[in-house]
Symmetry: C2
Subunit: 396 residues, 2 copies
């Protein structure tokens, strides 16, 4: 058996246990670029923002970054002035240890909201974190940002620009508070390609739009979500013209989409990864509204968990999406099995076939409205007993 | 011990088991008014509507009704033309048995969507249903409309107009697919006061607005929801001028609000009844948006189930409500315990006190925004393991 080692030229990674998590797991991670990298970021739209989000939104304006420090076990959000100071300190510890300007360090936090950050633990651990930096350290970093995730999430993509190979490596954490509303978790992406920061930002935004903005776990949005992309250019592959952009965008899309799928698949308590595809709506916007409403419906999600082909809940969710539909025109498919035609159930044989689909771990629910040309799709997961257990007990 | 018998002069009620429910429980019910009554109705806003909803919306235009037949165990929704015919048949059976015009009969259904209604079972049982009609039959009726409800829900209010006493008796069923978006379950209200149908409709609408439109269980809206109000006037109390309207409205509000609370309290898997009260928002509309977002948040609701004073989830839900808030001004109270002041947690002593509140079965979460004069409140319940169990297994 071969274990893939994820790396990205010119970047080093580390993770360690600073004591922020009670269970002794990694909770502090560092990403370092040998040279100052171009930087882009997409941040939560939540009006309540953690100290890390506020600071990074400011610093990313420069378009430059050389290091990212991230912690789990504490969101450092709603922690007032002290929280802002602690957040600044995190970047200062790294800057002074690495000998780089403070402004070149970004920071991310994830965990419980409203608890003061034990900054001494971070301070004590930063020298170790720096010492541990290595090209192969990303899996340690990935473990350091996990909260209720059950598996670390790392993806690598490779491409060529003008015959020069480049790498994109991304790492993400989920797995609750996930909703399609701009950046929905923590995700850090490194590439050795070179790009102007403005262009980098555009490409990141596009990729996020069709990946992290198309997933949902429980419909909540976090105060700490961000996706950061660093491009250090050490490969010599430069992204400038439209062809080069296409090549890079395509790889970036793949990396982010794969990470997004991993986040949903590892959604809190999730046992199934389900794509809700809404077709032939009056507009893409309408299709999106319906897909989101179905993807968020607790009744639909519990039926998925129960492997119950209860299409009435799907049609009822579509009906409350706030957009015009004609139930008598609706068709619903589970993969290729037609369950509903013209708004009426296709009977017990179809239901038995659909139930077989429901017993698999990944499938598509297609809702055809037969009203126009609008399409949209969203990835969701089922809603299990474990989701409730995880979230009822999260802090204890 | 005294068992209260709920009645309403001039009305008779019955319920029986026709076999629509597999478990042999009551599933067919009848309400009959000795004289033709004024009638008003509020119906689901879902764009997918059961045959019963469509027919009643048409028939209620006349402002008159003398009987309501209701069934559980089958929603008769998305059942096509046959479903419409079966729905009409239900009213015809009653009309012919009672010797009243078919148009004077309204119909309601609740249960699984998309299954053909076994109309023969209804036909066979209607004579028995009519035979069983009695002044004291409302508890049999109440059981006949239950689905996942664990208790029947009946409330009576009494008042006086010009020294003439009148009665309002309401019966309702929940307990999933409950969301504040116009009439959110089945509810039938009988009064022996007299009113013009137009006025009756206005009063009903007002009452629903501040009762059933202010509750949520799981955020889904049904295809079959309705609230019907019949006023047969046999008491001689006539509602006409503003004073009389006030007296009646007040009683009607009480009856509907009590039923609404009972529906949430008996929400699927619910162990707690929680009022989310949002105060001093920029506008009532803003307050309403925030209250709804908090009331629907799965993370908030699972924390309530876990009796975890995780106020970060409340503040995060407020932050994604789509309206302007200033986190640094927010205060959060659990009953009278201040947990958050100016967006920052009040520490472990407050948290311990708040946890005591969380261990009770009914309490208020007050969110003060300190931004203006807008207020709104919503009743919700917690989100338990049993909710998932009930809804994963519902049809099996």
């Amino acid at each position: 058996m071969k274990t893939e080692i994820y790396t990205c030229p010119g970047f080093t990674f580390s993770g360690c246990a600073s004591g922020l998590k009670k269970n002794g797991e990694n909770d502090l991670g560092l990403i370092y670029s040998e040279t100052a990298a171009s930087a882009a970021g997409v941040f939560t739209r939540n009006r309540v923002q953690a100290a890390s989000v506020k600071l990074d939104m400011e610093r990313i304006q420069s378009g430059k970054c050389q290091a990212i420090i991230a912690n789990s076990g504490n969101a450092n959000c709603c922690t007032g002035e002290q929280g802002e100071l602690d957040n600044l300190s995190m970047t200062r510890f790294v800057a002074s240890e690495m000998g780089i300007p403070e402004e070149m360090v970004l920071v991310a936090s994830t965990g419980v909201i409203g608890k003061p950050l034990p900054i001494q633990k971070v301070e004590k651990s930063v020298p170790e974190l720096v010492r541990l930096l290595s090209r192969n350290g990303i899996s340690e970093f990935a473990r350091a940002i996990m909260t209720t995730d059950t598996v670390p999430k790392i993806v690598t993509g490779k491409g060529e620009i003008n015959n020069i190979p480049f790498t994109i490596t991304g790492v993400a954490k989920g797995s609750g508070m996930i909703r399609p509303d701009m950046a929905t978790m923590l995700c850090f992406v490194c590439t050795d390609a070179a790009s102007d920061p403005k262009l980098l930002q555009e490409m990141l935004f596009k990729s996020v739009e069709q990946s992290f903005n198309r997933i949902t776990v429980d419909g909540d949005t976090s105060t700490n979500d961000m996706v950061l992309l660093l491009a250090n250019g050490v490969s010599g592959a430069v992204i400038r013209n439209q062809d080069q952009i296409s090549v890079f965008q395509n790889q970036l899309d793949q990396v982010l989409l794969t990470l997004a799928r991993m986040v949903v698949k590892d959604g809190e308590g999730a046992t199934k990864l389900v794509e809700i595809s809404v077709e032939s709506a009056k507009s893409d916007q309408d299709a999106r509204c319906i897909a989101e409403t179905i993807a968020h419906s607790n009744l639909v999600k519990t039926a998925l968990f129960g492997e119950d082909a209860n299409w009435g809940r799907i049609i009822a969710a579509a009906g409350r999406a706030g957009v015009e539909i004609m139930p008598e025109r609706m068709d619903i498919f589970f993969n290729d099995v037609c369950m509903v035609q013209n708004g009426i159930g296709c009977g017990p044989v179809a239901e038995a076939e659909a139930t077989k689909v429901l017993k698999t771990s990944e499938f598509v629910i297609r809702v055809k409205l037969n009203m126009g040309k609008g399409n949209s799709s969203i990835l969701t997961c089922d809603f299990s007993i474990d989701y409730v257990k995880i979230n009822a007990d999260y802090r204890s």
